[in-house]
């Protein structure tokens, strides 16, 4: 591979980190890690939130605040970054080493034009005049392939889409031909179709300038497709590193195996009805040693296919639904003539990119937004146009699990009060009966009973999502809308929640409307799939067929953009399954630190 040859040519790597430690008081964020990045090479630092990967990047750049204690060596092309003076490191930042951050919406200054922001870097680091900087900025914009670059120079950030803003950020980052580019989750906030372009761009630039690329990400699909080498981080340590091929085809460490197993891929046939996702089981034995093992099992659900259930009356029958928003430029149609049905026990997947109207659709079904026309038949009753009072009687049948496990629970209420309020509002008068139902549902979503007395901030992201699921299920609905319900969770936590949802579906006989931008998750969870684009349903198909025989151009483009690792995972035999919530408890507790 290119990268390996480079090390041999040059003798020494571009960036060499040895025994890096970062601690905040007693808490060790990074516990002595070592890795190297060669010229022109892409090293992916993979791990879940809280594992210390971003802290590592910030420590390399010496951007951590004064509270952080850093030790170890960071050698950049012969200079020891941990000992050089502040002026020296400042001259290196943005010049020799630059960084691209996750959120392109906030990393650009909203009151300066694009041209000024790129020009500023050029003038400061390369000493160009205002006029030259403008010319150079234009070249850079063309290099990062922004359409109509001339016109964009005088635009403000709000005129650009998320992907274009990230391109501008990359243009700023590569303005001074850096030798090392650190990209911290560069595409996490972007749509799949945009993600592919941004990663391709980074790869091309890295090859063109022989620039080392340190790619920090949680997404194994991205890693598998783009990285030369991979270092897997867990709890401040690199548990395994090697070439991408080695990591993907023959992972050694159980944590790596778990991550690979838990991350869903579009090119495998895994489906909820036949197998659960492997869950990483982390525990500490008596002598304080952390042990990992994997837990997955076969499922024997009868998955519904599109043809089998046509005789049942659908739970939800949406007919020619249209939802419009009033804006200053006139009405915008967010949901445009959408029709579909969900039958009892079915999981209908709905995929689409941000802004395609999928969230508006779910809110319209729930009556949170008024529809402009069309029918929403819930168990045969048309609830479109119902007001809050009329909807109340129908609320228990359809519930929703929200995306953000942090925002969707009232921070001022204990879990008990959150769940109790739901039951009270739906006429459960007896306090004892309410208490019984609350403890029952908390048990079923795999949380300890003591959880009900805690407040939302005392839980990890995965646990909060369990509470969100409990709130949705406590009224025993027949349809649950999962709007990006697992999108903000880490891979291993996501696997747990997906397993939980699949188990609960069987247990309660639920139907799901599973909305996500992530095709691989939808592929795993759905029986039938709808593809939404610009407010319209452009394609509908069975979960196993649609990926291979997509008819619509947009579907094909969407599928083509999903990062698929270049290497297939070696087949893993399923571990015998034991499902007792009591055994799952310690797993949930220990895994809770995956999520910040």
């Amino acid at each position: 591979m290119n990268a390996v040859a480079n090390i041999d040519d040059q003798g020494q790597p571009l960036l060499s980190v040895s025994n890096l430690r970062v601690n905040y008081g007693d808490y060790q964020a990074v516990k002595g890690i070592s890795f190297e990045v060669a010229r022109g090479e892409t090293l992916a630092l993979v791990g879940e939130s809280g594992c210390g990967k971003s802290t590592t990047a910030m420590a390399i750049m010496r951007l951590l605040g004064g509270r952080a204690g850093i030790s170890g060596n960071v050698d950049f092309d012969g200079q020891n970054l941990s000992t050089v003076s502040d002026p020296v490191i400042r001259s290196l930042r943005g010049n020799e080493i630059s960084m691209v951050f996750q959120d392109p919406m906030t990393s650009l200054n909203p009151v300066l034009t694009i041209g000024e922001q790129i020009g500023e870097v050029l003038r400061r680091h390369r000493g160009l005049s205002r006029k030259d900087a403008r010319v150079e900025a234009l070249k850079l914009l063309k290099k990062v392939r922004i359409p109509n670059a001339e016109g964009r120079l005088d635009d403000f950030p709000h005129n650009l889409s998320g992907g274009q803003r990230q391109r501008v950020m990359i243009a700023i980052a590569v303005a001074c031909n850096p030798r090392l580019l650190i990209a911290d989750e560069p595409t996490t906030a972007l749509d799949v179709t945009v993600q592919a372009h941004i990663l391709q761009l980074l790869k091309d630039l890295s090859e063109e300038y022989a620039m080392g690329l340190l790619l920090i990400t949680h997404d194994l699909g991205v890693v598998g497709q783009w990285a030369d080498r991979v270092a897997v981080m867990y709890d401040g340590l690199i548990v395994e590193s090697g070439t991408t091929e080695a990591i993907f085809t023959a992972p050694q460490h159980p944590y790596t195996k778990g991550l690979l197993g838990a991350s869903l891929r579009l090119d495998t046939e895994s489906h909820y009805a036949t197998a659960s996702l492997p869950e990483i089981n982390v525990r500490q034995n008596n002598s304080g040693i952390i042990e990992f093992d994997l837990n997955s099992h076969a499922r024997y659900f009868t998955a519904r296919d599109a043809s089998s259930g046509t005789l049942d009356q659908p739970i939800l029958d949406v007919r020619n639904l249209r939802t419009e928003y009033k804006t200053s430029q006139g009405p915008v149609t967010a949901v445009d003539d959408v029709s579909f049905q969900i039958r009892p026990g079915e999981t209908l997947g709905l995929v689409g990119e941000s802004g395609c109207g999928k969230s508006t659709l779910s809110k319209t079904i729930l009556g949170l937004i008024k529809s402009s026309s069309g029918e929403i038949l819930l168990n045969g009753t048309n609830i479109a146009g119902f007001d809050e009072k009329q909807l109340r009687a129908h609320r228990p049948f359809v519930q929703m699990v929200f995306q953000d496990p942090y925002g969707s629970l009232n921070p001022k209420h204990s879990v008990y009060r959150i769940l109790d309020g739901v039951l009270k509002n739906h006429g459960v008068k007896s306090a004892q009966s309410r208490s019984q139902q609350i403890f029952d549902i908390i048990h079923r979503v795999g949380l300890p009973q003591s959880a009900v007395w805690k407040y939302p901030h005392e839980f990890s992201g995965g646990q909060r999502q369990r509470i969100g699921v409990a709130r949705a299920l406590i009224l025993r609905p027949s349809l649950v809308i999962l709007d990006e319900a697992v999108s903000s969770l880490d891979v291993s936590v996501r696997a747990q929640i997906l397993n939980l949802l699949a188990d609960l579906k069987q247990e309660f006989g639920l139907s799901y409307l599973f909305i996500s931008h992530d095709l691989s998750v939808v592929k795993y969870m759905a029986d039938r799939v709808l593809v939404m684009h610009d407010g319209k349903i452009v394609e509908e198909g069975a979960h196993d067929g649609i990926w291979k025989n997509a008819r619509h151009d947009y579907t094909r483009k969407l599928i083509g953009s999903v990062p698929v690792p270049r290497y297939a995972l070696a087949e893993e035999e399923a571990v015998p399954y034991s499902n007792s919530a009591w055994q799952e408890l310690p797993v949930a507790m220990l895994l809770s630190r995956f999520a910040v």
């Binding site: 040895s18 952390i290 507790m589």
Partner: protein, 347 residues
């Protein structure tokens, strides 16, 4: 290449990280002591034979009482600032209530030689004013008036302001525009002038003054509450409350309002202070209740002799400052105590 060997992981790890997750069993004292007690009294068999669900029922009864009884008050009493503030306020309230016993008779009557400085005559420990009125008696009786005005005005303005702000913020649209217009009307009118006018037209009794001051200072509360509501309405938990089918009243008062409380509390303590001051300004202008002594009227009458007898203004002024400061301390601590996250931190 750095390939951290897998064996590294089997080395003893610091346990700090593993203790961090919330659900570490050590955090559940109830269940653990229960189990320990159970097993020591009834033997291992009894503890293990217990059905897990039965144990939960048990917990259901025991936990709320042990864990969630008066959590706000407890958190409040853990904060030294709040304890000091509450102590001072309690003292002032007690003095105000006992004023009739401590200093029987009208505090406006001449009691002794005029212009005794504090300490000069121990019958009048805080001295007397130009008309020979006992300052200590004035402070005690004045506390009644000042506290009444402050608390009533704050209550009136918080209730009206919260209601109007919540309605404007929650419903938006035309309701919002109308109510915002009303708020702006009050904001642009000089409120003190309004108070003077209303008090001059009606009777200048303490009750009227208190209510009128409240009626002219709700606009600040309303603006704050409206802004908080507008921000919180987009939070997912409010959407979740709507999907669950909560009534509008429930969402406003149970879901959103508790999250909008901090600015309301801070403003309330400021309104108490400014109402006391407004009342003193009224007394100073002579439109206050002439039959009642208040801290404000004491400051107002002492003002004429600011250079010769500073204590006449300094003493009631200091009491006023201490009261307002205590209110602020309690208000601050109350905000932390009402926030479950901060409440846990002081635990």
């Amino acid at each position: 290449m750095s390939n951290t060997p897998v064996s590294d992981l089997t080395a003893p790890q610091p346990t700090a990280a593993l203790q961090r997750p919330y659900a570490a069993p050590a955090r559940l004292p109830d269940s653990s002591w229960r189990q320990q007690l159970g097993s020591s009294l009834l033997g291992r068999f009894a503890a293990s034979a217990k059905d897990p669900m039965a144990d939960d029922e048990d917990l259901a009864d025991a936990e709320p009482r042990s864990r969630s009884r008066w959590p706000v008050l407890r958190a409040l009493l853990r904060s030294p600032g709040a304890v000091a503030g509450l102590g001072v306020l309690l003292l002032i309230v007690l003095v105000a209530l006992a004023a009739g016993h401590l200093y029987p008779g009208d505090p406006l009557d001449m009691a002794g030689q005029p212009l005794l400085t504090p300490g000069e005559d121990w019958d009048f420990p805080l001295g007397t004013d130009a008309l020979g009125r006992d300052i200590a008696a004035g402070l005690a009786h004045g506390a009644r008036v000042s506290l009444l005005v402050g608390v009533t005005a704050a209550l009136v303005s918080v209730v009206i302001g919260t209601l109007i702000g919540a309605l404007a913020g929650y419903f938006g649209g035309r309701v919002d525009r109308t109510l915002t217009w009303l708020i702006e009307l009050f904001q642009t009118t000089p409120s003190f002038l309004l108070v003077v006018v209303v008090v001059s037209i009606t009777q200048s009794t303490i009750g009227v003054i208190a209510v009128v001051v409240g009626l002219t200072s709700w606009d600040t509360v309303a603006r704050l509450v409206r802004a908080e509501f507008r921000a919180l309405l987009n939070a997912d938990f409010v959407l979740a409350a709507r999907t669950v089918g909560y009534s509008t009243r429930w969402i406003i008062f149970r879901e959103v309002l508790p999250n909008a409380l901090p600015p309301i509390i801070i403003t309330a303590s400021v309104i108490v202070a400014s109402a006391i001051l407004t009342e003193s300004s009224l007394s100073f202008l002579g439109v206050g209740d002439p039959n009642k002594i208040s801290w404000g009227s004491m400051i107002g009458t002492g003002r004429d002799m600011l250079r010769s007898a500073l204590y006449l203004t300094a003493i009631p002024g200091a009491v006023l400052v201490i009261t307002v400061f205590s209110l602020n301390l309690v208000g601050d601590a109350l905000i932390s105590a009402l926030n479950p996250r901060l409440r846990g931190r002081t635990a």
